[in-house]
Amino acid sequence: MIFKNGIFFQDIGRCVAASLLAVVVHVSAAGATSLLEETHLINVTLGSDLSSIPSSARSEGYELSGGASISFDDWYQVRTPDLRLEFLTEIRSDLGFIWGFGTGEYGEKYRIDPSLKIGLLYTAPVGDNGLFSLRVTTRIGGHLRERACTADYGEIGGVQRVNCRLAATPLEPRETLQYLWDERPGDRLQASVGLMFRF
């Protein structure tokens, strides 16, 4: 239940953030300085690969039974964007630790959970001018989840929980709940191999 509601990942996010803070506080000043010197910001993004799903729904809508228009624009508009930062901390000259986090994205009828990204980058020279690289990362959290609406169908159907987007379709109201977004991030496990030659 905790997992289903997404609190699990939020809690992980909070724990990780607290742990990172604790690490930063407790390391020695020299160690911290060294760590910071070896750490580089390698990527900053606003939004995630899943952000396009609610965004694409914003232009849609339908009429209520009385004729009033319902627009999805407000429901799926981004209230808080997902800020994603990615860092690389050098462990050795040929090995780096990739880490980062996403703040999560929120709209009225959806959310993308906060996320934590970790991974490794290994490099090895190939000849005099070549460089082989292997990068493996995983993202924990970052699920897209959609909130249900409460629809009033009057005498024929009463008040029911429904998928906001599908409330006016021929699908049974309770069945629409099966189509609530529950998407994993596309980068939950990524591996890439690179080979670069300078000439």
Partner: protein
């Protein structure tokens, strides 16, 4: 009393006693046909998601065996068949996943209900000289059962309004009257369906087709009367016979959404959500409750 198919092309038909039960058909076994040009845009929207009538059973009582053929453009090209083939095929195009039962005019057995949600399509009338008391008519088993299903609310009974240009339940210019319509007035789950000249919209409202019967001044009829577009330029057919199957299909589609709703609930829903802003000079004595709107019938009244 004689049966008259409610098409612009009227045909005489002798009633013969029959013993065969209603024949079961399943259109859903075929691939789902596309939205047709004569259909309201509402249907296309409804088809984008959903079951298209699954769980409902539509019984079409009509002429399936005579040699009187009609030609219509139900699927773009010309389809030739009896009046019953046309009305069955039309409702099957609207609600392809419903189960269908056809009962030929020659079969006068009572209409038995199925275990599904029952819709009975009546694109015909029972005519006799004006002046009889409808409460004293000795109905045969078939019409008697249909009237009873409408009275008890056990089936959604969809009745073509008629093509005499008069109010439902009144005498025609020929001095006869559709007593089947009269008997259904005031019942719980019967709908009368009139024909508009096309599918209406706010920008281009539709008018009542010149031939269509109207709701008239009887408020009971007005509260049971709906209209839908019968675009003869696209359909190649005219008559309220081809309005009723659309509403039968709508009823089946509504049931696929509101599975616990009764036939009376479905009838009321279609009536309550009918539009009055898509017809020219809306008047309840002409249009009844207005033009049926499937999309509004499917939509909630409020959502948050």
């Amino acid at each position: 009393m004689f049966t008259r198919k409610i098409a612009a092309i009227a045909a005489t038909l002798a009633l013969l006693a029959g013993a065969a039960p209603a024949q079961e058909l399943s259109f859903g076994a075929m691939s789902t046909p596309p939205v047709q040009g004569w259909m309201s845009s509402d249907i296309g929207e409804a088809w984008s998601q959903g079951y298209k009538g699954r769980g409902a059973s539509i019984t079409v009582i009509d002429d399936f065996s005579s040699r009187n053929y009609l030609a219509g453009r139900l699927t773009g090209g010309w389809t030739i068949g009896t009046h019953g083939v046309m009305t069955y095929f039309q409702s099957a195009l609207v609600a392809p996943e419903a189960r269908f039962r056809i009962q030929d005019f020659t079969n006068t057995r009572s209409v038995r209900l199925t275990r599904n949600f029952d819709v009975i399509n009546l694109s015909y009338g029972m005519f006799a000289a004006d002046g009889y008391d409808v409460n004293n008519i000795w109905w045969g088993a078939r019409e008697g059962s249909v009237i009873n299903h409408a009275r008890t609310g056990n089936a959604l009974v969809v009745k073509a309004a008629g093509n005499d240009g008069v109010a439902v339940g009144t005498a025609t210019a020929y001095g006869d009257q559709d007593y089947l319509a009269s008997a259904l007035i005031g019942t719980r789950s019967a709908l009368f369906v009139g024909a508009l000249d096309r599918n209406g919209s706010v920008e281009a409202p539709a008018s009542m087709a010149w031939y269509s019967n109207t709701a008239g001044s009887d408020e009971r009829v007005q509260d049971q009367f709906l209209t839908v577009g019968v675009d003869s330029s696209r359909l190649g057919l005219a008559g309220t016979s081809f309005a009723a199957p659309i509403i039968s299909g709508y009823g089946a589609i509504l049931h696929s959404k509101f599975r616990t709703a009764t036939p009376t609930d479905i009838a009321n829903r279609l009536l309550e959500t009918a539009r009055t802003d898509t017809v020219v000079n809306y008047d309840p004595s002409v249009y009844g409750r207005g033009e049926a709107s499937l999309s509004r019938a499917l939509a909630p009244a409020a959502i948050r």
